[in-house]
Amino acid sequence: MTPSRTAFAAILAKDLRSELRTLQSLPAMALFAVTAFVIFRFGLDRTSLSGSLASGVLWATLLFAALLGINRLFVAEREEGGFDAIRLAPIDRSALFAAKAAALLVYLLVLELVVVPVFAIFFLDSTAALGPLLAVLLLADLGLAATGTLISSMAVHSRARDLLGPLVLLPLVVPLMIAATGASEPLLALHGPGYHRFGTWLAVLSLYDLVFLLVGYAVFDFLLED
């Protein structure tokens, strides 16, 4: 039996390499996000954003861009027989969950590396909020990676996978978005970043991450049985 850590590293490296070579998800996600900002600029008719509007625009855009990547996360596994290969391989199946969630986390971080500075250039007056925002982004990404991997791995086996992933995932991440927007809103306030209940929201985000990482780890075995 191959140790889980080796399997994890191998699957993660495979995913990142194939994304680097095909560039299937990330450019589309980034392009989607930037275009969404342009649409928000006209939809809201504002050239600069702060407070709840800024945090709403940022998180709605990031969430929908993430959905694009989440939808494609297991498509290659399904179409090219990756699932069968994993089932045949002498490895712990949870390694696939961990590796896929890690790959998704990397996608989201790279996406934000591009999109958040663009957001700041487009809409923000100061960049003071970006430092503490990093903590919120990291914790929210972790939660999105856990739930996204879990739902995507199930949706990919259904008839309407492009429809089903977002459909199930959106209500599931509502608490995550409540906490992420709640923490970002005072950070992006007009008169410099504030920290109203910042710690509480970070605690909620961490709890959400913990719960769904554990649930995902616990149930993932049942998703690969056949």
């Binding site: 086996h157 259904s158 008839r159 199930v168 599931l172 509502v174 409540i178 709640g182 149930v219 056949d226």
Partner: protein, 242 residues
């Protein structure tokens, strides 16, 4: 196949009696609320429905865990019917909640009431159970994935209540006291009778649905047995029929 139908008649009669008693308590025994008057009586329907629906979702999750642990498809049927009935009760919760909100605040929907908003989000989550379940064709996989969904959604419910409550508690005071400690005894008694009646209704409807499902399953098996060539299919299917 276990005979789901046994005891259904007694259960139905008990439910009708409990609902009749609870409603007569609501209309003839419980006092009129000093602030809200007659409209407050919808509380006796709205809150028990909400509690029963939420408990039903949890029960669906527990059945899902049993299904994954044992691999017995019957638990999946229990889990499905529990969630199904709770979603139907959830529609009633949202409608009665909207009526109550209109009567006491003047709007059909209020975003400041965290319990109502949380319930809407939970309802939306469980409403995706149907498209999710029926988009998966393989029956074994469908049962397994539906169970995983029920467990994930079960973990989601408390997190959601917490996040929605946190998002509002400091901004807006609670309009109703949710603790029943503030209720006078006669109201409390009526409320408990209503809760028992609604819970009994839920159990009866779940049992009825399971009975209908098992009957149609048996019918399908009998049809298949009749159609199948006598040499191959007959003996294999016979034990199930008896």
């Amino acid at each position: 196949m276990t005979p789901f139908g046994s005891g259904l008649r007694a259960l139905s009669i008990a439910t009708v009696a409990a609902v009749a008693i609870a409603f007569s308590l609501v209309f003839f025994y419980a006092p009129l609320d000093a602030d809200q008057g007659f409209i407050q009586k919808i509380f006796y329907l709205h809150v028990p429905l909400a509690i029963t629906a939420l408990v039903g979702f949890v029960i669906g999750g527990v059945f899902a865990i049993l299904h994954l642990r044992s691999g017995d498809r019957r638990w999946d049927a229990y889990s499905y019917v529990s969630i199904h009935m709770s979603v139907i009760f959830g529609v009633a919760v949202l409608i009665t909640g909207a009526i109550w909100a209109k009567a006491s605040w003047g709007h059909w929907w209020v975003w400041d009431e965290p319990t109502l908003v949380s319930f809407l989000i939970v309802f939306l989550m469980y409403a995706t159970y149907y498209p999710f379940r029926y988009a998966i064709e393989d029956r074994d996989r469908q049962a397994r994935y539906a169970s995983v969904f029920a467990i994930v959604a079960g973990a989601f419910v408390p997190l959601n209540f917490m996040a929605v409550r946190l998002a509002q508690s400091l901004v807006h005071p609670r309009v109703f006291a949710t603790t029943n400690g503030g209720l006078p005894g006669s109201m409390m008694l009526t409320f408990l009778a209503c809760l028992a009646a609604v819970a009994l209704l839920w159990v009866t409807l779940v049992k009825l649905e399971l009975t209908a499902k098992s009957a149609s399953g048996q019918l399908k098996r009998l049809r298949r047995a009749l159609d199948a060539p006598a040499s191959g299919g007959g003996p294999r299917i016979a034990p199930e029929v008896s």
